[in-house]
Amino acid sequence: MAEPAAGGAAEFCDQCGGPSVDVGHERCASRRTLEPPRFCPQCARRMVVQVDPFGWTARCSRHGETHS
């Protein structure tokens, strides 16, 4: 899993887009092993995600691209 973009903290869950401080992300955590990120951890925007056989890239229109 890639880290959040430089300068940003993971304020939002990359699986459901909800605030990271909220409770109830257990399902997100278990899902994360077999899922690429879907939401930007800095702003919760839905990201454009491309999965290929050996990795993924995820692009937030505001915070740029992360990859596996």
């Binding site: 459901c16 839905r46 290929d52 056989p53």
Partner: protein
Amino acid sequence: MSISTTSTSDRAGTPAAGDILATAREQVLERGEGLTQEQVLEVLQLPDESLDDLLALAHDVRMRWCGPEVEVEGIISLKTGGCPEDCHFCSQSGLFASPVRAAWLDVPMLVEAAKQTAKTGATEFCIVAAVRGPDERLMAQVAAGVAAIKDAVDINVACSLGMLDPDQVTRLAEMGVHRYNHNLETARSYFPNVVTTHTWEERWETLRLVREAGMEVCCGGIVGMGETLEQRAEFAAQLAELTPDEVPLNFLNPRPGTPFGELEQMSGPDALRTVAAYRLAMPRTVLRFAGGREITLGDLGARQGLLGGINAVIVGNYLTTLGRPAESDIDLLGELQMPIKALNETL
């Protein structure tokens, strides 16, 4: 091809309950005749205590009628999301509140993915698009992609682009696409519970056109979508009637935001029973482990499946979700002494 509303050919000697494994040994292993719909149902109803014996028999059938080779494939999503269809299992439908956003892959990235896939020893690379059927823009992208891959990589190219018209089938065959995937997804009787924007029969028509054009037919589906065991057996019989070159077997991975997002995953024993039952229904087909095996069966499932009727795998990631590392499956094949099918072989 015609669509039968009944099970596959009626065979004499339908066994009493409990004798199905002995019957399958004689009928499928010795004579190479797939199980009928009623017989598949008996297999699906076997208790967990019979699972090891069932898997062993399915493995013997696979080795007898297909051999030890395993066909390895990588898949890639050329066009992700934004699909107008309402397949209830799919996170790429534009009709559901799924987090998957639309995306297109460019040709250089397609070629790079094919190169990386070939490095694993894989002989198949399938280009997939989330569409009802291809428009001219997609056909042009596929043509450019297939040509670029063939120039750069020694690998068979397959496509999965939804429903086709006769002209599109001809064009894909002329591009050198050797196999076309179009899943019937589930039993004909259950299909309206899964998709309402098109019919099972429309899918069947595309498969008929693909076969007529000389491309190999790849057709499977997803189990664990709420169908009954009877419908799971019905689906096996309908696939057997189609006689596809390859059957990809997926296990429902409930996708957030889809109508099936809250369904329970099927159990591991049920998944393995289905693998074995489908092998016994189609002793000669390429039966491929596809999506959902990781969450349904875990790491142990890859081994059990490969020793229970499976003779093909998708390595690496899927279209929108991640899979086991490719090297894990390749290492496992080595450990099981199952050679990767070579490029010039036909199973």
